[in-house]
């Protein structure tokens, strides 16, 4: 295990310079923006006078120079303090801690669903490349892959939530329901069905395609031929050899898609009114809340780093050629 720990530590340390680049980049981007947090705030309250704006700038700490604020931000982040949101008037850490679970639920479920279904269908399609099932699944996945997720979300919500009333229209749970424990979990699950489907579909298609490609690749390898020569049953070759090997690129893909999935959840959260990271980012941008947007992007980036780390560890566990003693 120390070996594992060392790998984790190395990876995390290695991502520090990357995160610094992210912070500086986002900071500079926001500073080039037209309008600041005070402008946004004054608008939201329907106006104010010039002196009030000045007072607010001092209160929000916007009167200092760019470099001073950048230095302050970096120092703050180095202490693990995400700072204070002027738009929401609350500590950013607390805001993020509130929203993070919702996005994690959404992303986690979408990942699980698309990975499970995508790989299973990918096996089905790649079982016999060129077969009718393969052509159907390949065409279907291409179609799914081409549908914008927000549009799919709209269609799903009209059909299943508004028309059929099977599922809730929006939100992450029934508000102020007082539910706890399993009842609450069931409630959240119910709210997640549509957004997870809308978000996960495109990845399901992607994973199906990657899995299928991996299977096709595996069929060209000697080890599947050798297994045939040993008289191993076809289903066993499919699952135990081809699918298992095809899973490796899929796991890699999972890491690569983490960032994209987080981006996709921005739109889906907007469609389904889920108070998650995506909506927080939109609020931060609208409110010109630099520190908040920084917090959101930084924590998103950390999530992606974590996701990739997990994928690496999973890969190491799956593939004896990496990680283990050579």
């Amino acid at each position: 295990m120390p070996r594992l720990l060392r790998r984790v530590a190395t990876r995390l340390l290695g991502s520090i310079p990357v995160l610094v680049i992210v912070v500086v980049g986002v900071f500079l981007l926001l500073n080039s923006a037209g309008g600041d947090a005070v402008d946004a705030y004054l608008l939201s309250i329907g106006g104010g006078d010039a002196q009030q704006a000045e007072e607010l700038r001092i209160r929000f700490g916007l009167d200092q120079s760019v470099t001073a604020r950048l230095a302050l931000t970096l120092a703050q982040l180095a202490r693990g303090d995400l700072g204070y949101s002027v738009a929401l008037n609350r500590p950013i850490g607390a805001v993020i801690a509130e929203r993070l679970p919702n996005t994690l639920w959404l992303m986690g479920s979408a990942t699980a669903l698309s990975f499970a279904l995508g790989s299973a269908l990918g096996v089905l399609a790649g079982r016999r490349p060129g077969s009718a099932a393969d052509r159907l699944l390949s065409a279907g996945s291409l179609f799914l892959y081409s549908i914008p997720n927000f549009w799919l979300g709209l269609v799903l919500s009209v059909v299943f939530a508004v028309r059929l009333r099977w599922l809730p229209v929006s939100g992450i749970e029934t508000i102020a329901s007082g539910k706890t424990g399993l009842a609450r979990a069931a409630d959240i699950a119910q709210h997640l069905v549509l957004p997870v489907s809308a978000l996960g579909m495109i990845y399901l298609a992607l994973f199906l395609r990657v899995m299928r490609a991996g299977m096709v690749e595996a069929w060209g390898q000697d080890y599947t031929l050798a297994a045939r020569a040993r008289g191993v049953a076809p289903w066993r070759i499919t699952l135990n050899h081809a699918a298992r090997n095809a899973l490796l690129p899929l796991v890699t893909m999972l890491g690569l898609q983490a960032a994209s999935m987080l981006g996709g959840s921005v739109v889906i959260e907007s469609v389904f009114g889920i108070p998650g990271f995506g909506r927080l980012a939109q609020e931060a941008v609208a409110g010109r809340d630099g520190p908040l947007l920084m917090g959101v992007i930084l924590v998103s980036a950390l999530m992606v780093v974590a996701a990739n780390l997990l994928v690496d560890l999973a890969y190491g566990a799956l593939d004896p050629r990496v990680g283990g003693p050579r």
Partner: protein
Amino acid sequence: MLPSVSRRTLLGTAAALLASTALPRLARAAEGGRLVVAADSEPRQLNPAIVASNGVFFIASKVVEPLAEASYEGDGLRPLLATAWEGSDDGRTITFTLREGVTWHDGTPFTSADVAFSAMEVWKPLQNIGRSLFADLEAVDTPDDHTAVFRFSKPTPLQLIANALPVVSSVLPKHLYEGTDIAANPANGALVGTGPFTWGEYRPGEYYLLKRNPAYWNAGEPHLEEIVFRVLPDRAAAASSLEAGEIQLAAFSAVPLADLARIAGVPGLEVVTKGYEALTYQLVVEINHRNEYLRNLKVRQAIAHAIDKRYVLDAIFLGYAEEATGPVPKNAPAFYTGDVTTYGFDVEKAKALLDEAGFPAGPDGVRFRLNLLPAPYFNETRQFGDYLRQALAAIGIDATIVANDSAGHQKAVYTDHAFDLAIAPTVFRGDPAISTTILVRSGIPAGVPFSNQGGYVSPALDALVDEALVTLDPAKRVELYDEFQRLVTADLPLINVADWSFTSVASDKVENIATNPRWAVSNWADVGLEE
């Protein structure tokens, strides 16, 4: 009809009595229940005494009350924390008689000290509107616990103050705020007021929960047990949620206009257009007079002629708006006059005006180019931007739409003046002195939203605005503002296109909707929910 307020009018319990007997459904309102309402935004801070805006009032007005609320009855005001108000002849003092037997939600009695504190420490120095309205307020005397005397350094019309009361006079508990950083007081997040509902819970991004105040001063109210404001920034989601029965009320046009016709036909839902009369929004084309073309009156007139207001009302507002004739909406009958210069839709005339102005069409049909910045906060302003671009194209003006988000728009138009034409939704706040005049008065520093940032200067207009500000006689004030409307429509510092208000969509189980002209931002003490 809102009759003009007489300086010496005494409003007493009689008005309140009248109000209660005039609303027969009130007695029948069901007790208890939870009303779930769509809220489209989460204000940064919810203290209505500091931030006088509809977004804040929508939630906070149920908890923190002003001295008076707007009313369809009598002279247009219903006493809340003040039972009467009287101005002195010299216009330098206004005396408020305060309601007795009112307690704060924490049990402390409400007294004139709270009013004095709120006025001097909050409204005057901190509140976005109060800062100008109460600029001349010198002191508030409290001869007894239930009398507050406002002393002004200059004559101040009672009419103006009275008209502004529902907006500017939310009273804060002195005992919680005194000696603290008021803007950062924790009570701004968990409000303490005298209203019919007490603060319950806030889950950011999800909901606000308000609970019944059992000790409300008006015995028998409120009827609801709880109000939940569910955060639904997306307007389409609000409509779907109403249909799915997840919410019972969507105010402030949370349901898009385009969907209203359909939703009106959904069983169990009703569309209510009343209840926003005192919350009129004005669709205004802001003009940058620094622009060489727009500096020319003929060009401004041509633009006014190029706009088919009828079409705007029908296509963009789907009929839920009024054609504007000038800077005061018809919804403010006390001040409105139709006796102004009007500009009928006439493309040929517009073209002729432009020719006269010396801007003939080029070979590509274009006379000159402008940029156009529609305010992004409303669908209607954006759509009108699309329309205006077309309308201008028809008379040979090539307009390019520059889209910014809210903060970017604010900076571009009101700070950097980086616009030729802008489209703004300004609010008419019941009295020209605290709303529409700021759009044309010169000398307003950069950075103030919804103010004259187009560089328009008219000494005559400035003088008129200033005079009206210190004119005590209501009739004289009205006359001055009539003249103001005439001047503005003649010289077109800006173009008023339409005045619109909001709609509510509610479950037909919700009782006592739209019982006053500021209903959505009033205290909802009388609202009930049928089982």
